[in-house]
């Protein structure tokens, strides 16, 4: 085992927004966990998968082990591997004329995060687990179904099968719409966990988050969120703008010591910069101009509605 073991304690920021929508998702996830299942939060970018996973982990009140899915991951990145050697040397010279020397080399096994979480009953947050290749995640099948980890038998003095601690909980997140650097998760793994499909936050939550993260007033945050939601609902963007877009706009305005109502022209430019890039993958000029035009119309319409 490693000496420099680090465990995480999920702690909500002071401005963490817990609306009825978030509470409802958290309660449902907690019920699934209580029933003995791991939970998988699936949804497009900006739907709060990771934050909700951390929030649920906080409610579980157990130390957290955090893993981020990676293409380069192999099974050993999850369970551990042999690292270096441990040597023992015995020099017996009890009788001065007789010298006996014994030397033993043993491979040194180092547990990795999944093994640590299973051994001590920690909560595992496996963020974007579909970024790891499916064969690397195969070890999770026995963890979630049989409650054991099948470890290499070569580890000295260690049981080949590690029983998963009853307090172990797996929280997984994935984005089914992601196109770059992701793999399809195997059916067997998906079947062993409860998948909660997350949609974009409701209006109240988005306003709360934008307000909390930027420090803008409620009506100012609501104005920004209304514009972003209108753009999202138009269905004309390659990618739907998320709450992150709202936060970016709000934070920028706050830094500039402006509000959506103080400088209309500047506000439109900021919205176009942030949202046009957020909603397109390639960033072609034609597409950007189309989104910018659409955005201008939506903003004008929202100003009229407010007035």
């Amino acid at each position: 085992m490693t000496d420099d073991r680090v465990i995480l304690e999920p702690t909500p920021l002071e401005n963490f927004v817990e609306t009825p929508y978030i509470k409802e998702i958290t309660t449902r996830a907690m019920s699934y966990i209580e029933a003995g299942y791991s939970v998988h939060f699936r949804g497009p970018a900006g739907t709060g998968k990771t934050t909700i996973a951390k929030h649920v982990a906080n409610k579980l009140a157990r130390p957290v082990v955090l893993l981020h899915g990676d293409e380069e991951f192999s099974t050993s990145n999850l369970i551990g591997s042999e690292s270096g050697y441990k040597t023992t040397k015995v020099r017996d010279n009890f009788i001065s004329s007789v010298l006996k020397e014994e030397q033993e080399f043993q491979k040194h096994w180092v547990d990795n995060r999944l093994t640590v979480a299973c051994r001590f009953g920690f909560t595992l947050i496996y963020d974007e687990f579909t970024r790891s290749r499916p064969e690397a995640n195969n070890i999770l099948l026995s963890v979630l179904e049989e409650g054991i980890i099948n470890l290499p038998i070569s580890r000295a003095g260690e049981e080949p099968y590690l029983e998963v601690h009853p307090n172990f909980t797996g929280l997984f997140t994935s984005n089914p719409e992601e196109y770059a650097g992701v793999h399809r998760s195997q059916d067997a793994l998906r079947d062993r966990m409860i998948t909660m499909d997350l949609d974009y936050f409701d209006f109240e939550t988005e306003v709360g988050i934008t307000r909390a993260k930027s420090g803008l007033k409620k009506n100012e945050a609501a104005f920004i969120v209304a514009i972003v939601r209108k753009l999202r609902d138009s269905g004309k963007c390659e990618f739907s703008p998320t709450v992150r877009g709202c936060i970016m706009i709000a934070k920028t305005l706050k830094i500039m010591k402006k509000t959506p109502f103080s400088d209309k022209k500047n506000f439109i430019v900021i919205c176009q910069d942030i949202l046009a890039s957020e909603t397109s993958r390639v960033g072609s000029r034609t597409n950007q101009n189309r989104v910018k035009k659409l955005l201008q119309e939506i903003i004008e319409e929202t100003y009229k509605a407010v007035a």
């Binding site: 000496d3 420099d4 073991r5 680090v6 465990i7 995480l8 304690e9 999920p10 702690t11 909500p12 920021l13 963490f16 990771t50 934050t51 951390k54 929030h55 906080n58 130390p63 957290v64 955090l66 001590f120």
Partner: protein
């Protein structure tokens, strides 16, 4: 009765035993002999009932003793289990606290 001439083939020939015909009549057992044999059989059965009764009583007595013994042992065992569980939970607690000292804690803000 068939005559030799009326028999057409050897297949029609039957032995005396096959046709259940005897040259002398079957000897009859006397009633006294029959009575003696039945009395003997009855005595044998009565003896058998007696030994079965004895066996039944013995089994019943043994079952009673086993029940008493089991009750005593289960109480002892329950006590032992309590001790083992207590020890196990203490060890678990020790392990937990021991490990916690080794862990470095980091806040994961969200």
């Amino acid at each position: 009765m068939k005559t030799i001439q009326s028999i057409k083939s050897s297949s029609q020939l039957k032995s005396a035993a096959f046709s259940k015909q005897r040259s002398i009549p079957v000897a009859q057992r006397s009633a006294q002999t029959e009575l003696y044999m039945l009395r003997k059989e009855k005595q044998r059965y009565l003896k058998e009932i007696e030994s079965i009764k004895k066996r039944y009583d013995h089994i019943k007595e043994r079952l009673g003793l086993i029940d008493e013994e089991m009750l005593e042992l289960s109480e002892i065992w329950r006590g032992e289990v309590d001790v083992i569980e207590k020890e196990a939970s203490e060890t678990m607690l020790d392990l937990d606290t021991k490990d916690k000292r080794k862990w470095k804690k980091r806040k994961l803000k969200y």
